[in-house]
Amino acid sequence: MNRIYLDHAATTPLDPRVFECMEPYLKGKFGNPSSLHEDGRIAKEAIDRAREEVAALIGASHEEIVFTSSGSEANNLALKGVAFSYMNTNSNIVVSEIEHTSVLHTAKSLEKMGFEIRHVKVNKDATLDLGSLEKSIDKNTILVSMMHANNEVGTIEPIEEISAVTRTMGVRLHSDAVQTAGTIPVDVNMLGVDLLSMSAHQFYGPKGIGALFIRKGTRVIPQIDGGVQEWGRRAGTENVPAIVGFGEACRLARLEMADRVRKIAPLRDELIRRITTEIEQVRLNGHKERRLPGNVNVGIEFIEGESVLLFLDMEGISVSTGSACTSRALKASHVCLAMGIPHEVAQGSLQFTLGKDNSIDDVNKLMEVLPPVVDRLRTMSPLYHKFIRSK
């Protein structure tokens, strides 16, 4: 039985065309791009071409693209790279409450090094509170970091409006675009960002490769010292096959983005419609309209997310949940809590993220399986029994 994959926010399948482009560089074309001989030149040309594609996807120039091992590394480089120029100064960094852990935990590390970290609140739909943002920025603010779209609830943030604020106040803006670059249009000039993080495995590219866009003139202290790769900003022999794959994923994304969105968004809307009409006491988490084309995040009351995930998994359907039980720290999703979603509803939050290979059959199959699972778990839930008695 073929599994149904509805967890594209976690990762996406490698596009066969991307694999085809990568294959020669896993086999005969194995040179080190820094080598001066022909084997090196072949590899160097390949990563140069890929870099152009990555830059073109986001409206940047190729020398503004630094390859990293991942989106997490790009986020680390952005925050630490800027902060390290300001050691032992009275500086602060402003981040939203709903950032990915690779931003939040990096900020925590910087806090231990003496930087003040200011968290800006979000609204119930997870959009940033612009008023709170303005209040958080002062003359000692060296960086604002706001993700372009949230990986859990899918809300797309008003980066253009945020950059208008940061530009006026003379502060650099970083955006974690791991969930948007390659999925929806991302243009660094339209957005007005100084730094932007990307990750290939989010849009049918390989794992183990990401990039940080660094606007010309922005000083970033390298976090991995060594050789002079990436213009001295990030040492290490380049992961040539992964870079080539990244480039191809970007090229395909540019060509096919509109078609992909046209296909996926209606499936998302249909799934949202069906879940909210066919299951009672359910709410949609995140902004209704400004959301990623494939993201469905719902809070199902009276039941816990992991138990739903296990039943769906047994039926061959892969999904995700924001419940505490599935996190190592046993804390419910920080994003759900930041949005003011009550704990018990956050525990019942389920995330279905669609990709370009999903179909209406997948949606229908999920809706065959999900309602009975919910009923079954509610029948054995003390919370549901209390709710029924109170009616």
């Binding site: 997310g305 018990e344 003390p382």
Partner: protein, 126 residues
């Protein structure tokens, strides 16, 4: 992540339900933590004649309450009070490290139901 025995109890939990005229009821946990269990017991001649429960929680939580209901049925009150969370986790073939607290809740819920029964009995005796 879970043993076969845990998954078995998760898929087919035993003794799910409510006892309307229970002799003892024990409720533990809260939805904030993501685990909540209510255990109902019926006691006759110092023996747990019947036991049912409701659970809000993850795979481990459901498996633990199912297992403990199986283990407690037919035990005397004294024996049931001695049932520990370790006994439950062992009987399930072990739980992942971060799920051990679920087994604590299972044992706690049973003990709370027993305490509830004992205090009601004492109340009647007076």
């Amino acid at each position: 992540m879970y043993t076969e025995k845990v998954m078995e109890h998760f898929k087919n939990p035993r003794n799910v339900g409510v006892i309307e005229d229970a002799d003892g009821i024990g409720e533990v946990g809260n939805p904030m933590c993501g685990d909540m269990m209510t255990v109902y017991i019926k006691v006759e001649d110092g023996v747990i004649k019947d036991i049912k429960y409701l659970t809000f929680g993850c795979g481990a939580a459901i498996a633990v309450t199912s297992m403990i209901s199986e283990m407690a049925k037919g035990l005397t009150i004294e024996e049931a009070l001695k049932l520990s969370n370790k006994d439950v986790a062992d009987e399930l073939g072990g739980l992942p490290q971060q799920k051990i607290h679920c087994s604590n809740l299972g044992a706690d819920a049973l003990h709370k139901a027993i305490q509830n029964y004992l205090s009601k009995k004492e109340g009647h005796a007076q």
